[in-house]
């Protein structure tokens, strides 16, 4: 359940916010490069997961195209850098907008019908986009992909995680805050109404197609920006970096984190970024006994993410966010006894 109309920030939340602000500013100076790398990756995944959550968790529409739209954003950014260099905030905006436009094109025919058809259309879009990325050699350079020069800030190249941190993390914070804002207002409420009971939503004056398109366009925008940041971060964009499996992983992330809560998108993204790394550590140790252990990591990852989707949907459909809020509610109740 999402509480939307929040009163003025209670003391507890304000302290958390203040501490987070301090942590955010201090991190690049205190934390090692290794961890900064992971923080950046988590931030990128948070943006994409939050976008997907807006669509699936809040509006109730399934999509398997989040990774493909990230690819659109990544390629847009790479191509812009090659042919039309823009300051990176504008370039990121462009990446998001291009992804959003393609999203609208995909959504237009499929959202007129049942929600399921959007999922099908996004699968089709993923296939088509991957084909375009691989075969439009003249533009995308096919399977070899595109490489990028580092983003630059007034001439200073940003090629260390510690530097990209200052681009990636604030963008993530802004986009997540905007999503949180949205669900305190009329449009956000409308999305939830569509998820819960779309016929009633229509009776109340909400035009279904327009709002579903808005939600999908927004989710695609977030994916596009995440893809653009991804391109800046890895500096190589190839067609095989955005397969449908990645979309499934994002779906797992928001299911595990908590559908329909802002915290869920963040928790899910952190989770989905760290689990593969955790696997790598565990299996790295296993190579002492089983020499080829590392090679099976992708398969194990598929099993784990699949099992997480099934497990959470069966037993804890509101995700970790719900578990956390349950624990905090109980501890608060006990504290006030």
């Amino acid at each position: 359940m999402t509480t939307l109309s929040t009163p003025a920030l209670p003391r507890r939340q304000a302290t958390v916010l203040a501490l987070s602000a301090v942590a955010f500013v201090a991190a690049p100076f205190v934390v090692s490069n290794y961890w900064l790398y992971w923080i950046c990756l988590m931030a990128i995944n948070t943006i994409s997961a939050t976008g997907l959550n807006i669509l699936t968790g809040y509006t109730g529409l399934s999509s398997l195209g989040q990774a493909a739209f990230m690819g659109v954003g990544a390629y847009t950014l790479a191509l812009l850098q090659q042919h039309l260099p823009l300051p990176f905030p504008l370039a990121l905006l462009a990446a998001g907008l291009v992804a959003a436009i393609i999203g609208l094109v995909v959504g237009m025919p499929s959202l007129r019908v049942k929600g399921l058809y959007l999922a099908i259309a996004t699968i089709a879009a993923s296939v088509v986009l991957e084909f375009v990325f691989t075969n439009w050699q003249s533009v995308t350079n096919g399977t070899k992909g595109l490489t990028l020069a580092p983003a630059s800030f007034f001439g200073q190249p940003l090629d260390q995680p510690g530097q990209l941190y200052w681009v990636i993390v604030p963008t993530a914070i802004v986009l997540v805050a905007m999503a949180a804002n949205l669900f305190r207002t009329r449009v956000g409420r409308a999305f939830i109404a569509i998820r819960d009971r779309d016929i009633s939503a229509e009776v109340l004056g909400i035009p279904l197609l327009r709002y579903k398109l808005m939600s999908f366009g927004l989710a695609s925008f977030y994916a596009g920006v995440a893809g653009g940041l991804w391109a800046f971060f890895f500096r190589v964009v190839t067609p095989d970096a955005f397969p449908i499996v990645l979309s499934i992983f994002f779906l797992a992330a928001i299911i595990v984190g908590g559908l329909g809560t802002i915290a869920g998108g963040v928790i899910g993204a952190i989770f989905m970024t760290l689990v593969p790394e955790l696997l790598r550590l565990v299996f790295g140790l296993l190579t002492a006994w089983v020499p080829d252990a590392m090679a099976v990591i992708p398969s194990v990852r598929s099993i784990i993410f699949g099992a997480l989707i099934v497990g959470f949907l069966l037993f804890e459909p509101q995700g970790i966010a719900a578990i956390v809020s349950r624990i905090s509610r109980r501890s608060r109740a006990r504290a006030s006894c």
Partner: protein, 293 residues
Amino acid sequence: MIDWLFLAEVTLAGLGTGALLALPGVAFVLIYKATKVVNLAIGETLMLGAYAYFALTSGLGWPLWLAVPLVLAAGGGFGALVERIMIRPMLGSSAISVFMVTIGLGAMIVGAVELAWGLEPHRLVTHTSEAPLFIGEAYVPRKTAAAFGVATLVIVVLLLVLRLWPGSLALRATATDPGAAYSCGVSVPRVYSFSWAIASMIAAGAGILVGAVAGISPGMGVFGLTVLAVVIMGGLDSVLGVLLAALLVGFAESVVVAYLGGEYKLITTFALLLLMLLVRPHGLLGTAEIDRL
């Protein structure tokens, strides 16, 4: 000048592919008609059947007549198990949630198959002779013709059963209104298990056919995406529609592969799907949903 012989061979190949698509498509429609679930894991179930057959014949050396029934039985058991532990508990949830459960299931199956049998493709042992088969002057690979024959037989039997067997009424009743069916004495849980078991059995069997014709690999689940496209184009709840769409898609893919090259196969199918969604989203023969308040 059109090379008619080549076109004929391409058409025959297309019919073969169409039959192979039709089988899992019918399985998909069966599940949807009986339990209103969109089972995205049907392609992975097909893959399981293929690999189970591979394990029995190439791994254990079992003969065909022993392996096939066992694979079918295992497929049926798998379907009933999945229904019982993953689908039945989700009965009150939204359709999207159940849909996502099948996605998770599919991912798990792919990972498990990769772990157990590795990533390289394999060939299935079927003991069909390699002598070429000619229809008129057109060449047809013997395996494709055999697969077509088996698939057609199964579909015909299934259609007859659905038409003539009194139990199929229970199936349709449960699909339309489980509550009403329940109060009429239909054992709704039994219908659910049964339909999932039969559908998974068909999919597993189809896996053997597909594997026999094209070999097996963990990427076979992609075939499931094509099946999904076929089902949507035919109409989620129409067996006849699926058959029609399967033949059309099979033909289209065959033509594209022959004249343009293999890479264009998937994109053709999905471009057709997007077109269909634009023009007639409920498919060729599917029923447009009427929302009653």
